[in-house]
Amino acid sequence: TPLGPASSLPPSFLLQCLEQVRKIRADGAVLQERLCATYKLCHPEELVLLGHSLGITQAPLSSCSSQALEVVDCLHQLHSGLVLYQGLLQALAGTSPEVASTLDLLHLDVADFAINIWQQMEDMGVAPTGKPTQGPMPTFTSAFQRRAGGVLVASNLQSFLEQAYRVLRYLA
């Protein structure tokens, strides 16, 4: 169903989603700044190998690309991605006092956004039967791994949200 349901997405829902994305990106930027300032971990590209070994993956948004936009599938992927990041942020809890409050707020805002998407899918009658589960989460065996995991998750989340923002902007 290419663009059909897009017209049924209420403007206020789309405006709220855009605002939520901007809010989460602002939260994420604060987390990145704190991890960089506190631990000098400023470049996620230096942590790619570690990311693979920890199993930190990027959530797919293939149905949200402008060339192949499937709105319902896009909402599903958006929700699943947010659920994945909720889990990753939860796994990062306890990283350090310096980032604890930022992590909490980021986790709350991501959870809020996921619920907003889910309820919209329910209102449209396109919500999957069961809520998606988070899947296996990385296990951090050292303080360094947890901090580096924070940098990677924050970076992945920012690019995930950048993609989400583009499609929401397009739909709005």
Partner: protein, 308 residues
């Protein structure tokens, strides 16, 4: 134990009757088995006690105070002993009103402390210890369907406001919220409100700044002023609109308004002003097009137009 008072109700509505009875035990009968049981309310003797001897030999007096008009009073059961009045037992009576219905419930989402702050009017004094609780339920479809309740918010003693922490909130989902008041004489509830917490956000004022007086940016036009502003940093993720008000510092000058304005600008030129005059400028912003509350007006920025 010499004697014991028992009450119909320790707490009654102000002006309602109270019935009490006092039983004088066997071990106090040796004083003067025929002496009358007397009642005192605070320090005043109360007539009308009905006395009887019970099968077990104890004596009982019952009294009904027709109208208790004290919010707090001590009722004493006494015996005459020689020529002194002995207090055998004493209880505290309380009178007041059922809790009034709280009203004028209003809430704001405060992004500074990331809390949802609600306040209300408690209503007239009930003269009884009364507990207020801010209750809320997550809900859907403009609060037609209700989901799970949120943790109750109990205000500090004597306060008519409460702050719900961010971790209990869904900022973009419907929330039903009300105030419950409870005391010994009953319970009451305020009208219920329904909204998204984020739709009640009130921003902090924007920051207004004079521009450096460099000629390229601010060529000297006597009827113009140059300045810039930026909305409150924690709200930059929100689309907003702002408005400017300004007035010359002259007797009986009134504010002029410029609206709508964007949430930030690197430099803004305001013209049509009086030359060689001091002006006061203020701005405020609001979340827009999504709902919100206007911020307060910013602190004043004072600028002077150039000489002609």
């Amino acid at each position: 134990e010499c004697g014991r008072i028992s009450l119909s109700h320790p707490i009654v509505r102000l002006g309602d009757p109270v019935t009490a009875s006092c039983v004088i035990g066997q071990n106090c009968n040796h004083l003067d088995p025929e002496s009358e049981i007397l009642w005192k309310l605070e320090s005043e003797l109360q007539p009308g006690g009905k006395q009887q001897r019970l099968p077990d030999g104890t004596r009982k007096s019952t009294i009904t105070l027709p109208h208790l008009n004290h919010t707090q009073a001590h009722l004493s059961c006494c015996l005459l002993w020689g020529n002194s009045l002995q207090i055998i037992d004493q209880v505290e009576l309380q009178a007041g009103y059922p809790p009034p219905t709280p009203y004028n419930l209003s809430c704001l989402m405060n992004l500074t402390i990331n809390s949802f702050i609600c306040q209300w009017e408690p209503g007239p004094e009930p003269h009884l210890p009364t507990n207020f609780t801010l209750k809320s339920i997550k809900s859907r479809d403009n609060c037609q369907t209700q989901e799970e309740p949120i943790q109750e918010c109990v205000p500090e003693a004597g306060q008519s406001r409460c702050a719900i922490q961010r971790k209990h909130l869904l900022l973009y989902q419907s929330l039903v919220i009300w105030v419950q008041a409870e005391n010994a004489l009953g319970t009451s509830q305020s009208p219920k409100l329904c909204f998204h917490p984020m739709d009640l956000v009130k921003l902090e004022p924007p920051t207004l700044e004079a521009l450096d007086p460099s000629p390229e940016v601010a060529p000297a036009q006597p009827d113009c002023l140059w300045f810039r502003w930026e909305s409150w940093k924690p709200s930059l993720f929100m689309e907003q609109k702002c408005e400017l008000r300004y007035q010359p510092q002259l007797r009986e000058a009134s504010w002029a308004l410029v609206a709508p304005l964007p949430s930030c600008t690197l430099h803004h030129k305001l013209c049509g002003l009086l030359p060689a005059t001091a002006y006061t400028l203020q701005m405020r912003c609001i979340r827009w097009p999504l709902p919100g509350h206007w911020s307060d007006w910013s602190p004043s920025l004072e600028l002077n137009t150039a000489e002609r």
